[in-house]
Symmetry: C2
Subunit: 227 residues, 2 copies
């Protein structure tokens, strides 16, 4: 269970001050499939970075289950990040001079999984996202949508309890997008909590709930029948 | 006028060989508004890099107007790239430690335009894409869709004859996407040739022609009534 209570986030870099999130209250229960929508610049990635324990709120409380994340020690936080959360970044964040296969294996190296197991799991996930024949390519030898799919495979490789995906289909054709959403739906039916940022209504249609942001504020939160 | 005749592109990096484009014939006349569509990995960005004089075909001919691009000298080619073509990269390619405003001014520096003129034009274009208040942000202080819009502004700043945009709305909400397509439509009505790679039918609907790729081959080329 994720609980954000009166969460605000201000970026303050001297000359620049931006209130990216303003007094956000949000509860996401285990097993939900939630879409986050809103205009460009409305705070979606900022929210995802907080949920993914990659950044901290400026004010307010963030609970993961019973735990107040702001008082977790760094070791505890790293364990949550590496083992419980799978994160697909909006700009993929692949390691440049590292093959697709090695990029997907990386989280398993942090989780200290055995070498043969890592290899097998990475190959299986690359095949699952349609990239079985691209494992030995470097990121700059992959198309935009292929990089995006490597980032998705990498997020799934430690079988996370929660998947946070920031615009996971932004660079994908319709066919590939629907395949990815089918994959997320399958994971969700196995109990994985899935939160997806998207700007496409056909993608949000796979979710059971749509939360909308505008200028850093949560402006609507509606349940729906997934398509 | 762009003329590709029997153009193929193979990426050959020792262990890896990929035929990204196979025997492509394509003519785009001045003033057209063309959408390029196709699955992830089907060769669209490869095509755009060739059209933008950023990469060369492995075989076949590429004519820009009367000129065979393969026999142009580097100085001529640089002039075409910097002054006649505006290019929006799929991954934006902004300069990291440089403000949005400076990123947009960069092509005008190469074109040796006066400082005051550069500043005014850059500010006007940032305002046009809705980022008037983000000029002093660095790329890592911008949202995904904001970075994309800076890349669009930068492509327009030398008033190019041809605009090549690779997935220019991939990170934009519907409202911002339609604003960008209205902007491109306005430019096209002023005589700018516009070629847009997109995977969204609602975006392709703004174009007068849709060219589709599959596995490196051009599989269909149809005129349509723009919406
Ligand atoms: N430098 C490279 N070396 C080897 N293969 C490459 C290289 N760049 C691209 N490729 C391969 O060439 C094919 C075409 O790539 P391209 O980037 O043109 O696809 P695309 O249609 O733009 O895809 P997307 O919609 O995912 O952006 C892909 O299968 C890709 O893996
Ligand atoms: N490091 C930073 N410093 C200053 N401002 C920032 C920083 N990061 C983001 N911002 C600003 O915070 C606001 C919210 O950014 P965020 O990335 O969360 O938006 P978003 O909803 O994900 O947008 P998009 O749909 O374009 O990806 C934006 O206006 C952005 O300019
Ligand atoms: Mg974002
Ligand atoms: Mg591409």
């Amino acid at each position: 269970v994720i609980r954000l209570t009166d969460v605000s986030k201000t970026y303050d870099t001297g000359a620049i001050q931006v209130q990216a999130l303003k007094h956000v209250d949000l509860v996401i229960n285990e097993g939900e499939f939630v879409a986050i929508m809103g205009q460009s610049g409305s705070g979606k990635s900022t929210l995802m970075n907080i949920l993914g324990c990659l950044d901290r709120p400026t004010s307010g409380k963030f609970y993961l289950g019973e735990d107040d994340v702001s008082v977790m020690d760094p070791k505890e936080l790293a364990t949550v990040r590496n083992k419980k959360i799978g994160f697909v970044f909006q700009s993929f964040n692949l390691i440049p001079r590292t093959t697709a296969l090695k990029n997907v294996e990386l989280p398993m190296i942090y989780a200290r999984r055995p070498k043969t197991e890592r290899r097998r799991q990475a190959e299986a996930l690359l095949a699952r996202v349609g990239l079985a024949d691209r494992g030995d390519h470097l990121p700059n030898e992959l198309s935009g949508g292929q990089k995006q799919r490597v980032a998705i495979a990498r997020a799934l490789v430690n079988q996370p309890q929660m998947l946070l995906a920031d615009e996971p289909t932004g660079n994908l054709d319709t066919g590939s997008s629907l395949e990815i959403m089918e994959l997320f739906t399958a994971l969700n039916s196995e109990g994985v909590t899935v939160v997806v940022v998207t700007h496409e209504e056909e993608i949000a249609a796979y979710c059971g709930r749509v939360v909308r942001f505008k200028d850093g504020q949560l402006i609507s939160d509606l349940l729906q029948e997934p398509v």
